[in-house]
């Protein structure tokens, strides 16, 4: 945001010129910053990438974890933080193979996501289907929106 300051008449011209340059630079920086934000969104760079949504009662967390054994997946919820841990192994069925391409990454992962509100940890439900983990986290009663009836 650029703040324009009102200048009285007779304000020295050279300072106005400086002001114009400053505005120009601010524009350049904000354009650059917006461009980067649009491109990377809320990119954190930690595997797995997650999407988080909410409605009045629940928070919904999803993550793409193709090829991960659901047994090795460890999900825990504490206060307002969800932690996901696991490992991905990629092993060919036969031993002697010659790789043409190896794009799928292997290793361990650990990711914590802090939630905007507290959730009922004991009521959290998680399912793993087609390589997508979906977690439904019910909000605590205090965090839910209350409908207030207006009397006339």
């Amino acid at each position: 945001m650029t703040i324009f300051r009102w200048r009285g008449p007779g304000f020295p011209g050279s300072i106005l010129e400086l002001e114009r340059m400053r505005n120009y630079m601010e524009n350049v920086y904000s354009t650059l910053a917006n461009g980067v934000n649009n491109f990377r969104r809320n990119y954190t760079g930690v595997f797995p990438l997650v999407n988080l949504a909410e409605d009045d009662d629940n928070l919904y967390l999803t993550a793409e974890l193709p090829g991960i054994d659901p047994q090795s997946l460890d999900l825990s919820v504490k206060n307002d933080t969800v932690t996901l841990k696991g490992a991905k192994k990629v092993e060919p069925e036969v031993k002697e193979v010659n790789y043409h391409r190896r794009e799928r990454d292997i290793g361990v992962f650990r990711r914590s996501v802090s939630l905007p509100v507290k959730v009922q940890a004991e009521a959290v439900e998680a399912k793993f289907k087609n390589g997508i983990l979906s977690v439904t986290l019910p909000k605590v009663a205090e965090a839910k929106a209350h409908q207030i009836s207006i009397t006339t």
Partner: protein
């Protein structure tokens, strides 16, 4: 090779597909799935990460030595408010050119936990033909 006990997985953003001007009728983004391709004595195996794709939404096709892998995902439930969006969802599409040594009749594909596995067996080696020599 790599020690799977300590190495952390690097995050890779999904690569949106360059459609070359041809658009999908459905307004879904398309991505290029990450693949492993390896060759063994029996043939070639293609493994592709396609989270969200079921057997019904999957199409594996070989034509003119071009292997086409396509996966459609069910549109996600619309939530009233998105708080964080680190990844996009959409369909998958990728093509590979193969050698002519593949036995096209014996290709098998399976999908489990969002991972597609396509097995492309080699053609049986040509049987040596015995030529009988007739003596006059």
């Amino acid at each position: 090779m790599t020690d799977t006990n300590s190495r952390e997985i690097n995050v890779k953003e999904k690569q949106p597909l360059d459609t070359g001007g041809i658009e999908n009728t459905r307004d879904e983004a398309r991505f290029s799935p990450e693949v492993d391709i390896y060759e063994s004595e029996d043939g070639l195996t293609v493994i592709a990460d396609m989270p969200g794709v079921t057997a019904e939404g999957l199409s594996v096709d070989l034509k003119d030595n071009i292997l086409t892998i396509q996966g459609t995902v069910q549109p996600q439930e619309r939530r009233p408010k998105i708080l964080l969006k680190e990844y996009e969802t959409g369909d998958y599409f990728r093509q590979f050119s193969l050698s002519e040594l593949i036995d096209q009749e014996k290709i098998t594909a399976s999908i489990k936990d969002g991972v597609l596995s396509v097995k492309l067996p080699n053609k049986a080696p040509a049987q040596p033909r015995k030529i009988s020599v007739v003596t006059e």
